[in-house]
């Protein structure tokens, strides 16, 4: 009995999954547990592993197409089996899938394989270059690695290899930049009380690792509770309120930016926020984030203070309406009651989706947040 490869549901509400790329091809021998294809939900890209040893067959969903979850996207045939019993992947309700419904079932007739070195084949697949389109300079016209590299529109220095995390980041930031009418509100706040708050919190056992980001998660959760309009999304011509306050934290990893989420941040103690933040940041850096770790965010904090950045404009993490960009805390001269004094100052930059939050509402939220940063008393838990 052929073993079906099923488009899985990675989230509770997920209805479809998109085939990003096939890592193995029709007719390939595969081993149970090896990655067959990459799929993407609206949050993450994950690899789907072979459910059994055997020959990959029935590969019909093309790269880029979406299919309903639960749909078989291929089968793995054991020795002697044929692709005949494969269920046709109906119903195909989604987009490009219609176009391929006519594709022949079962393994395609074996065409003459283009001569190419193993390295050329591998990098062509990685770079998305069609071998058939290339002129081979190797023996008998075989394509070698240099031919693939020459055909790749790379800068003089060659190409940097990127993984799925980077591609998701690239796609999502580009889409936000193009589709979301975003603007930035900026405000300098006095961080003296934030600093002393952090100092006192860290004296409590178990809280030694509380960071500025943890404090800001706590304060943003409170500000969002008071301004639910910012904790919302533009969806189909209406503003959808977030059910809970789930704060994403931008985490830089070697593979690219990821935004794991502290769920229901307004209900968590500072210690719990800190523990969760450390857990997801570590998982992010180790590449171990689960789908549920990155789903459901309603607001994002990006802190580049540790890199010495004074202030910056973050790109709205659509479909969220707002992202807070946090700079470093630096002693600066400020004029206070006619006197120039030195204070630890912090610049908060709030990027907003104008379809959800206009300037005045955004300013009110930022004013609340600034007030909480400057007077965090009462939130200490």
């Amino acid at each position: 009995m052929p073993t079906e490869v099923i488009m899985p549901a990675l989230g509770m509400a997920q209805e479809t999954g998109k085939v990003v790329r096939w890592l193995r091809n029709e007719g390939d021998q595969v081993v149970k547990g090896e990655a067959l294809l990459e799929i993407e939900t609206d949050k993450v890209t994950v690899e789907i592993e072979a459910p059994a040893d055997g020959t990959l067959a029935g590969v019909r969903v093309p790269e880029g197409a979406e299919v309903p979850v639960g749909t078989p996207v291929a089968v793995v045939l054991a020795a002697g089996e044929t692709a005949a019993p494969v269920a046709d992947p109906e119903p195909r309700v989604v987009r490009e899938v219609e176009a391929v419904a006519a594709a022949p079932a079962g393994p395609a007739p074996r065409s003459r394989r283009r001569l190419a070195s193993p390295k050329a084949r591998r990098i062509a697949q990685e770079l998305g270059v069609e071998l058939d389109a290339l002129t081979g300079s190797g023996p008998n016209g075989a394509v070698v690695a240099a031919d693939v590299e020459a055909a790749t529109p790379a800068a003089d220095g060659g190409a940097f290899e990127v993984g799925s995390v980077w591609r998701v980041m690239a796609e999502r930031t580009a889409r936000s930049w193009q589709e979301v009418p975003q603007f930035v509100l900026r405000r300098d706040v006095d961080a003296s009380r934030l600093e002393s708050w952090r100092g006192s919190v860290r004296r409590h056992p178990g809280n030694e690792k509380v960071s500025h980001t943890d404090l800001l998660v706590k304060l943003c959760a409170e500000a969002l509770r008071r301004h639910p309009r910012v904790n919302a999304s533009w969806r189909d011509g209406a503003i959808a309120a977030g059910a809970t306050i789930n704060i994403g934290i931008a985490v830089a990893t070697e593979d690219g930016l990821v935004v794991p989420v502290v769920h229901a941040a307004d209900t968590l103690s500072l210690g719990a926020i800190s523990a969760r933040r450390r857990e997801i940041a570590e998982a992010a850096r180790a590449g171990r984030l689960r789908a549920e770790d990155v789903q459901g965010g309603t607001f994002t904090i990006s802190n580049l203070g540790m890199y010495g950045v004074d202030a910056f404009q973050a790109i709205v993490n659509a479909p969220q309406a707002a992202i807070l960009a946090v700079g470093r805390i630096l002693e600066r001269p400020v004029s206070l009651n006619g006197e120039v004094v030195s204070r630890p100052m912090l610049t908060l930059s709030l990027s907003l989706d104008h379809r959800v939050v206009d300037g005045a509402r955004g300013a009110e939220f930022l004013d609340t947040l600034a007030g909480l940063v400057e007077e965090p008393a009462g939130l200490v838990t």
Binding site: S117, P118, K119, V144, A146
Partner: protein, 326 residues
């Protein structure tokens, strides 16, 4: 660092181990007064006496069997087999006794035997004194096989061989004995199973053993003038083999040549090439090439003999071909 010849480095290693450990002794044909036909052991009998540097009758199976027995009963014999061609005579002692005893005694017996012998053609010694038969012994589980290529490696590896509790076949290329090289001062050993990158490069990996390392380095010099950067790797021990080093280099360069003086068919070069083909396959931009001795008895005629073994020219030609520069 002092410069020593390969023969002096071997001599020094033996002298140091004879001094260090009373159970070490040397036995072989013409090893004492003559110091071997290659003068490798010259002077050892003067320092250590004829009871520790023993001239034997002409019976390779006999002295190897004596070595196995002495090793099992607590000595650390170094058996000298003048020509590697005579491995054929000692194969029963090596393959059926030395290699099996530890295993078949359930680990109760150890065979800390070192068998030194030679390999290599182009010495005008004809077909029965020119063979490189290291693949024969490398095929037998239980034997370690060492192929040093420099004086420094020879010294460090021979000391490791003598201290190893397993039978070790230590094979020196006759043509290397006069080659000089820097040898570190003082006491040192070199672990088995650690390859040495003799030259770093980017475009093609040349895995070479024994005297073929010199051939590969000369080829690399030539290739450099043509804009091809060759990396030369010496496994140093065939058993145990540093597979990871070969694979890492082949993955880096995408091209690999294996140069070994054994006959090319069914030889050590085949094993080394297979390791690379199996584990670095998706990084290879060209087939792995083997360069071994021609599959003929080594001719006595010098012009013909020279044709049978890899040379810097044939190695460089193979590298050019793999790099698409024909």
């Amino acid at each position: 660092m002092p410069e020593l010849t390969f023969a002096q480095a071997v001599n020094q290693a033996l002298a140091e181990e004879l001094r260090r450990d009373d159970t070490v002794f040397v036995i072989g044909e013409d090893v004492a007064e003559a110091g071997t036909p290659f003068k490798v052991l010259a002077g050892l009998v003067d320092e250590f006496g004829p009871e520790r540097v023993l001239d034997s009758p002409i019976s390779e199976p006999g002295i190897t069997g004596l070595g196995v027995g002495a090793a099992v009963t607590g000595m650390r014999p170094v058996v000298d087999i003048m020509f590697g061609d005579f491995l054929t005579l000692v194969m029963d002692q090596l393959a059926n006794q030395a290699a099996k005893t530890h295993y078949m005694s359930g680990g109760k017996l150890k065979v800390p035997l070192t068998l030194r012998t030679t390999m290599g053609a182009t010495r005008r010694s004809a077909a029965q004194h020119s063979q490189s038969l290291h693949a024969w012994v490398a095929h037998v589980p239980g034997l370690k096989v060492v192929l040093p290529s420099t004086p420094a490696d020879a010294k460090g590896l021979l000391k490791t061989a003598i201290r190893d509790d397993n039978p070790v076949v230590f094979i020196e290329d006759k043509m290397d004995y006069a080659v000089k090289g820097e040898v570190p001062d003082g006491e040192y050993t070199i672990p088995f199973g650690v390859a040495d990158v003799k030259r770093e490069g980017e475009d093609v990996t040349i895995v070479a053993t024994s005297s073929m390392v010199r051939v590969a380095l000369a080829a690399a010099e030539q290739l450099e003038t043509e804009g091809i950067s060759a990396e030369v790797i010496d496994p140093r021990t065939l058993v145990p083999l540093d597979r990871d080093a070969l694979i890492a280099s082949a993955e880096k360069t995408g091209r690999a040549i294996v140069v070994d003086e054994g006959h090319q068919s069914y030889g050590a070069s085949a094993e080394l090439a297979a390791v690379i083909a199996e584990r670095a396959f998706y990084s290879l931009d060209a087939p792995v090439r083997r360069l071994g001795a021609m599959d003929v008895p080594v001719p006595f005629s010098p012009p013909l003999e020279d044709e049978t073994v890899p040379t810097p020219e044939t190695v460089a030609a193979a590298a050019r071909q793999l790099c698409g520069r024909t």
